[in-house]
């Protein structure tokens, strides 16, 4: 954590409520995000208990599994979820705009521009907490290798038709969420703690209710008290007033309420199967009871997540967040094309080439995100200035100079006075950048004057003529912010084409062979 955010936390302790860490919203928020609140069964991998999902806060869909260990009920649940989520995801697939992409020509080996299409918008999924993102990943892994009855008629345990597809999309979203600055799958706690500093630790910020307690405490309460109530407050039956944001449920809820209700459901089903008659009234009422219990744990988190979205909407959007969202749209379009082309699901483990590409992308995007957030937001820039990676100051002198070539170009010397302490080498030569109408103008650091002023030599964005274009050279008295980091991320060295992959890295694609097999399924996959 930087000193500046530590300071914000200290201020939050004194003020009794959260303090801003950003002055603009650094993540894209869709107009109609889909909120997904999943719950899981303690101790069982990939055995969901229920979920609340929807794009309208007043009309959520609630799906509950009355017996999470029943595989048929689980398939039915996942099929219901798939219908809802895939409808949201597919809704963006057909609205496209023309775009260009550079590709390698297979014959000449040169990079050429190719006409292609780009979806004008992309779906956005918001879960309550970081654990929710991991749960989406887990569900994706558990579903994407399943085979439906059409794909594999001999499979004794076929999955409903849309379930493998949901697995592939969940996997894609979870994988995309690891790219810094991406916004297709977000968690409410990450969003909030990016924009506000609370008077508690990072660890405690993982609790959505406590985080909201600090950011927006109820009238007459301080943040710490509101957070404590969210963390520990229990009713007279020992149940949490603010159930955990999941996917894990509170053990007290499991032991005291849920387990007896599930046992009653099991007993009613057993009685129905054993006894005479086919009156399933008891089964239905037991099922409704489990449904009611699970819904009671979901709804609080559902409203909290929407409250988090409202809080973020109140912030003005960061200028460059939209540019990053375009990358999410590319990612969405790319996966849509892979699905349409009938490609197999993502493999269990990435091959060396894909892994290297993913890591390179994440590194580049992290650099881009750091630069863009600083340029969008003076509060983030303040952190970079404190670290000596940027400086703001007033121009005190501009001296025109030119290059000594046949057609001289302007290379004016700009003197800047600043209180910041940029980490520039005394002998000069370091490059600095400023934003000129959204585009970076670079300058070379020349020297420190005796009184500590900096002398910079402007290098570009001044036009082709002998005299610089109006407005492209700062004037005396201008207050400017210069950065030592570049404004646009440059990727590392290009990776070899997939066909050129050396055997040390697994060889060209396809040499590893075989399609991923579905997970082996036993009669009983639960204990």
């Amino acid at each position: 954590m930087s000193l500046l955010s530590t300071l914000a936390r200290l201020e939050a302790v004194r003020a009794g409520r959260a303090q801003p860490l950003a002055t603009v919203r650094h993540r894209h928020l869709s107009e109609h995000p889909m909120v997904l609140v999943p719950l899981t069964t303690a101790g069982e991998a990939g055995a969901p208990l229920g979920a609340m999902v929807g794009t309208d806060r007043h009309a959520p869909q609630i799906f509950v599994i009355p017996q999470p260990r029943d595989r048929d009920r689980r398939w039915a649940f996942l099929a219901d979820l798939a219908v809802q989520v895939l409808a949201h995801i597919d809704a963006y697939a057909d609205a496209v705009e023309p775009a260009e992409r550079s590709e390698t020509d297979p014959e000449t080996g040169k990079r050429v521009k190719v006409e292609t299409e780009l979806c004008v918008d992309a779906p956005q999924l918001i879960v309550p907490s970081r654990a929710g993102i991991e749960y989406v990943r887990l569900l994706g892994r558990s579903m994407r290798f399943r085979r439906t009855a059409e794909e594999d008629p001999d499979n004794p345990y076929p999955a409903p038709s849309q379930v493998p597809m949901l697995g592939r999309w969940f996997t894609h979203l979870a994988e995309r969420s690891r790219v810094p600055g991406s916004s297709m799958l977000l968690s409410a706690t990450d969003l909030l703690s990016r924009h506000w500093a609370t008077g508690q630790s990072n660890l405690e910020d993982q609790h959505l209710g406590a985080l909201l307690g600090w950011i927006d405490p109820p009238e007459g309460h301080c943040g710490a008290a509101a957070a404590l109530r969210a963390e520990l407050g229990r009713d007279k039956d020992g149940q949490l007033l603010c159930p955990p944001a999941g996917p894990a449920t509170d053990p007290a809820f499991d032991n005291k309420l849920l387990a007896p209700a599930i046992a009653r459901y099991d007993a009613a089903r057993a009685a129905l199967a054993a006894g005479p008659g086919d009156d399933d009234r008891h089964v239905r009422s037991a099922e409704q009871e489990v449904h009611r219990l699970v819904a009671s744990q979901l709804s609080n988190t559902w409203w909290n997540t929407w409250e988090a979205i409202d809080l973020l909407r109140a912030l003005p959007p960061g200028e460059r967040a939209e540019e990053r969202w375009t990358r999410d749209r590319w990612s969405y379009t790319g996966h849509r094309d892979r699905v349409r082309a009938g490609e197999p699901p993502q493999p269990r483990r990435d091959d060396a080439v894909t892994a290297a590409q993913k890591l390179a992308t994440r590194e580049t995007e992290q650099v881009r995100l750091d630069a863009q957030e600083a340029l969008d937001d003076p509060l983030v820039m303040a952190g970079r200035r404190l670290a000596g990676e940027a400086f703001a100051g007033e121009v005190t002198e501009v001296v025109m100079e030119w290059t000594e070539s046949k057609r001289p170009s302007p290379r004016p010397l700009v003197t800047v006075v600043t209180e910041d302490r940029p980490q520039l080498a005394d002998e000069g030569g370091g490059k600095v950048f400023r934003s000129l109408d959204g585009r970076p103008q670079s300058a070379q650091f020349v020297r420190f004057e005796e009184d500590g002023r900096l002398v910079l030599r402007l290098l570009d964005k001044m036009g082709r003529g002998r005299d610089p274009e109006p407005g492209s050279v700062p004037e005396k008295g201008d207050r400017l912010c210069w950065t030592l980091f570049e404004h646009d991320a440059r990727g590392g060295p290009k990776l070899p084409e997939p066909e050129q992959t050396p055997w040390t890295h697994g060889g060209p694609p396809g040499s590893a062979g075989a399609l991923p097999l579905p997970d082996s399924v036993t009669d009983e996959d639960l204990l």
Partner: protein, 397 residues
């Protein structure tokens, strides 16, 4: 455990009596388990935890009596699954478990169960933890000899190990210990979290490794006295494979966890010294003392609260309350504490941000600069035109 001479030569009572007095004479001691030890080792500077755990005080009851109940507990679904998975792994005389140990840790050795070397599963029942620990030590000795003489594998199901922690004995119960024919002892941890595509949740594996390290340390105490015996520093973690209930395993090297845990256990302030420093008549019995008396008693022992405690210690919410009331910056995280150096309270740090003491302390100067930059940036943001909220499309009103 420690090379220090006894703290107070003229102790009027024995340590055992002293600890019983602290706990409340009528209260039976709570045993220390490996999970608690691993958590204790994660915060070795905390005298409060060392003393209360060493004395066997029921911290859950104490926290409730103090008005800050801990929210620990395990869901019965998780317990049921954990137990049934363990039973499945150990079923059939431990054949599957021994096969996993053989395949992952000793593929070159003669496999267990092949003719002439059937696996032994000795009975370890005995009265009381001391009795069970003695029975386990005997079984380990016999198993090592049997391995040497006949090449037999031995599976010890839920053995009991003794380890002296901060001056008081702790009894530990690993899921299983396997004795190889070559005299190696391997700790086996059976966990019910899944290993998906050969990888399990890193945090859970880390916790299991720390727990296994405690068992390895305890086993080493026994192995020291036994020539030919050696405790393996690689343990076997057995988990369900993917989304099934089939067991799969992975060898986990715990040398790092073992040395960290050993160093931290050695460093633990000795319970004896802590107890000696307390006033006479102090008692942590929630049954006989009022909340105020208990709070006073607890505050007589120094704590080292950090937010990580919330996941490991029943008293954490109480300690957090106190840390916040005392304005300690550690309540915001260990990293914050590290960053602020000598400024240990929120008040001092904010005073430094306002400009106090900037000349002497570089941290204070940096904080002051940060405060000015932050104020400047917030002013700049406030001067922007206001952002108009978009109409909420979902709102019907």
């Amino acid at each position: 455990m420690s090379s220090y001479p006894p703290a107070s030569p003229a102790q009027p009572t024995t340590l055992r009596q002293r600890l019983a007095g602290l706990r409340g004479p009528a209260v039976p001691p709570r045993p220390l388990d490996a999970r608690a030890l691993a958590a204790l080792a994660a915060n070795p500077g905390c005298g409060r935890r060392a003393l209360l755990d060493g004395a066997g005080v029921d911290k859950t009851a104490l926290a409730t009596a103090l008005g800050s109940p801990a929210s620990f507990g395990q869901s019965q679904f998780a317990i049921v699954r954990g137990n049934s998975f363990e039973a499945k792994v150990k079923g059939d005389g431990g054949a599957e478990l021994l096969r996993l140990v053989h395949a992952h840790l000793a593929p070159a050795a003669e496999p267990p169960g092949s003719p002439g070397s059937g696996a032994l599963v000795p009975d370890l029942t005995a009265a009381g933890p001391e009795g069970r620990a003695a029975r386990t030590a005997l079984a380990l000795r016999e198993a090592t000899a049997a391995g040497r003489d006949t090449g037999a594998w031995t599976l010890l199901d839920h053995p009991m190990l003794a380890l002296e922690v901060a001056g008081s004995p702790a009894y530990l119960e690993p899921d299983a210990v396997v004795v190889h024919p070559d005299g190696r002892w391997t700790v086996v941890e059976i966990k019910s979290f899944p290993m998906i595509d050969g990888a399990a949740d890193a945090a859970k594996v880390g916790a299991a490794a720390r727990q296994a390290a405690v068992y390895v340390l305890a086993l080493e105490k026994t192995a020291e006295k036994l020539p030919g015996a050696e405790v393996a520093h690689t343990v076997l973690l057995v988990c369900p494979k993917d989304f099934s209930n089939l067991p799969t395993a992975s060898a986990v090297d715990i040398r790092r966890e073992r040395s960290v845990t050993r160093r931290q256990l050695d460093r633990l302030t000795r319970v004896e010294e802590l107890a000696a420093a307390l006033p006479e008549g102090l008692c942590f019995d929630p049954e006989t003392r009022t909340a105020e008396e208990l709070a006073l008693a607890v505050s007589a022992v120094d704590a080292a609260y950090a937010p990580e405690c919330l996941a490991a210690c029943e008293l954490a919410f109480h300690c957090r309350d106190r840390a916040r009331a005392a304005d300690h910056v550690t309540a915001l995280g260990r990293s914050v504490r590290g960053e602020l150096g000598a400024l240990t309270t929120v008040e001092a740090a904010l005073a430094a941000a306002a400009g106090a003491g900037c000349a002497e302390d570089p941290t204070a100067a940096a904080l002051h600069r940060a405060a000015r930059l932050r104020a400047e940036a917030l002013d700049a943001a406030a001067a922007r035109p206001p952002h108009h909220l978009p109409e909420n499309p979902a709102c019907p009103c």
